[in-house]
Point group: C2
Chain length 409, copies 2
């Protein structure tokens, strides 16, 4: 029997999905499960964009241009201009989800054995794409005590080696919800220039900022050859299944290189390019409404969490995720227990253990990620479950006061 | 300025698309260009499958299962059963085009530095995916003189090293149109067992066989752990833009590994999974009609080519490609000349130089690939252009007799 590759064995299983069998078993027992574990929004995809797909006119579902339909890319220029990002249509390659944009970046900028620095906790699938590309992820730790702010410049400098080729920043951040400030971007700019690094900016949640405004890496001056914007319509328009993203850079040589990867896989999906193009025509207040909905959910979630004895959750500035510290020794065990051994009024809650979002072993063991992708009523019920669970959890750690929380563990 | 990766530089540009700027210039001059260079069929996508997409019911375009919708995979089991291929739905991972299935195979079965053997000429994008995966493609040459039959067992054995992990076969073949026989599959089976190799079977053109019937690698007995079927609906249903393929194997460990790659990129495109699922319900004669249309085109194309002095084209048994030898010293130069400096009645033809389909340098220099994806009238006109072009081409090689053709060059 032929063997599996080493990279196939190294490839991490999804930390978001590994508890799925326990959730399925709970549902089979009749327990209702609130899914706060995965970033699949319950917000409806804008009906006008779905209608645009329904009304497609072609009779042959042809390959599109490998960089995506020109009409779509030209409209995206307007979208980015409205966000203060000045690019031309031929600096955009439409990708199959943000996932493919990340892969193109790793393949085009780094060779196998090269290193990429990412503040941890980070989007777990970066690990997967790094394994695929043979690239080493070097984590620099951000801490719940500071709300997961950017680690200081010196921490990055200690992590940089001759093999470091890029820094990846997700802003606002998945899984922490942290919104990076202009000052933090200046630190990243300094690093990119001093060490000649690429700066990959994952801006999937650009519109979902609640404290302050979003600063795009594409606005950094003097970094045209360093910055790559990795984007996606998945969260922006609740269009996760469309698999439409974008790889954007002003670096001509890198763009030409990424086009070769794009040509090899022929084209991005055609139907959802229509959806993406139609989304540019949404009314200006579209994001205001969605953002307000997410803001209310965040406020509720964070309030409920911090009211629970022994729980601490910093207020996330953006995206639709929060990381909370729980009074438990091992959140992996606790999350499984929630599904396997607990219910409250016939219901329970599914959370993502945060350990899978850290690159350094042993970190985040008492943290969970919560995605506030359910409506407020569901969030209330989910928090009721969590609160009741923590009261009865056998392995709970006793925390005497709130101020003790940040030093206790 | 940060540098491009070595693999980014190594990544080949598409041999099918590299003449595109010359075609665009010809069109701007008012010359009509017949595109026989690319496998984009002009056959309409079955209207019922497009209607199925129009009538989708969901309000949220959610991620699908990472392996694709279960309902689609369950229906695919019926499709494969009708083709004599016995698999279960959980042995299927729906991929983003056949492209992704190939990439999953290379990543899951081979490590960087490992080798994969492919009979040349071969689908050029295998090269691209191999560069992405850091894998070395070792070509074994098939020859126009034998109609591009499988090279003998000894040729494979000479090419096998300790690093060889897999053989890739595209059946029927792109770019040669060759349909592999049951006997040739037995040779491949021997090799796979003796040297413990994976056998990747790309069956994109399964339904388009004109001489004899298709034999799927999935029917080889005793090779459950070796065979990976890489499939796609792109050509089968003229649904290239859907980006739906499949990675299929009975090797449980490999399947689990591929699922980790599938989970990292979350899910395949949702809309076109609906199309793929609807396609299983097409009437039984759907492929009969399409196959007959392609057969007529093939007959016409091959006849016209072989009637031209100095031209030789073996009769392809399947797919919708043919490779022809032309009486020119360099088909790359000739194909560019067709677009830049030639027209006949205001028209010209775009062909794909075959050199880009060979892994060995210097092979296929006087060969072109023709895709018979245009209707018969267009093929006639395109052949008129080629015939007229060869009469006036300044660098034409004189070939005295037809029998001389196969030894002349």
């Amino acid at each position: 029997m032929p063997t599996i590759s080493h990279r196939g064995k190294e490839m991490p299983a999804s930390p978001i999905r590994k508890l799925v069998p326990f959730a399925e078993a709970a549902k089979k027992r009749g327990t209702k499960v609130y899914h706060l574990n995965i970033g699949q929004p319950d917000i409806e995809t804008p009906p006008s964009t779905l209608d645009a797909v329904r009304h497609f006119q072609f009779k042959i579902l042809e390959y599109s241009h490998s960089a995506g339909n020109e009409s779509y890319r030209r409209k995206l220029v307007k979208y980015y201009a409205a966000n203060g990002i000045d690019i031309s249509y031929d600096q955009i390659i439409i990708t199959t989800g943000g996932s493919e944009a990340i892969l193109f970046g790793l393949l085009g900028c780094l060779d196998a054995g090269d290193e990429v620095i990412i503040p941890e906790p980070f989007y777990a699938n970066y690990n997967g794409f790094a394994v695929e590309a043979g690239v080493k992820v070097v984590p620099v730790t951000s801490y719940i005590e500071s709300g997961f702010a950017l680690p200081p410049l010196e921490t990055f400098e200690k992590a940089i080696t001759k093999k470091t080729k890029a820094i990846v920043i997700c802003n606002p951040n998945n899984p922490t919800g942290y919104l990076y400030s202009r000052e933090e971007w200046d630190i990243l700019k300094q690093l990119a220039l001093k060490y000649n690094l690429y700066l990959f900016s994952d801006e999937a949640y650009r519109e979902f900022c609640y404290e302050g405004s979003h600063f795009s890496a594409m606005k950094l001056e003097g970094l045209d050859n360093n910055v790559v914007l990795m984007d996606t319509i998945s969260k922006r328009y609740s269009a996760c299944g469309g698999r439409i993203g974008a790889f954007i850079t002003r670096n001509k040589e890198l763009l030409d290189t990424a086009m070769k990867f794009a040509q090899a896989r022929l084209s991005p999906p055609s139907f959802s390019q229509i959806l993406g193009e139609a989304a540019i025509d949404l009314p200006e207040d579209y994001f205001d409404i969605t953002r307000e909905e997410y803001r209310r959910r965040r406020d509720l979630l964070v309030k409920r969490l911090n009211e629970m004895p022994g729980v601490y959750c910093p207020n996330p500035g953006g995206a639709f995720y929060a990381i909370a510290r729980l009074p438990v020794p091992d959140a992996d065990v606790f999350c499984q227990w929630l599904l396997e051994s607990f219910s409250f009024k016939g219901e329970t809650v599914m959370l993502a253990p945060a350990s899978g979002f850290y690159g350094s072993p042993g970190l985040g063991l008492n943290e969970v990620r919560l995605a506030y992708v359910l409506n407020q009523e569901a969030i209330q019920a989910a928090m009721d479950c969590l609160q009741a669970a923590l009261l009865v959890y056998p392995d709970k750690i006793e925390v005497k006061s709130k101020s003790e929380l940040l030093t206790h563990y």
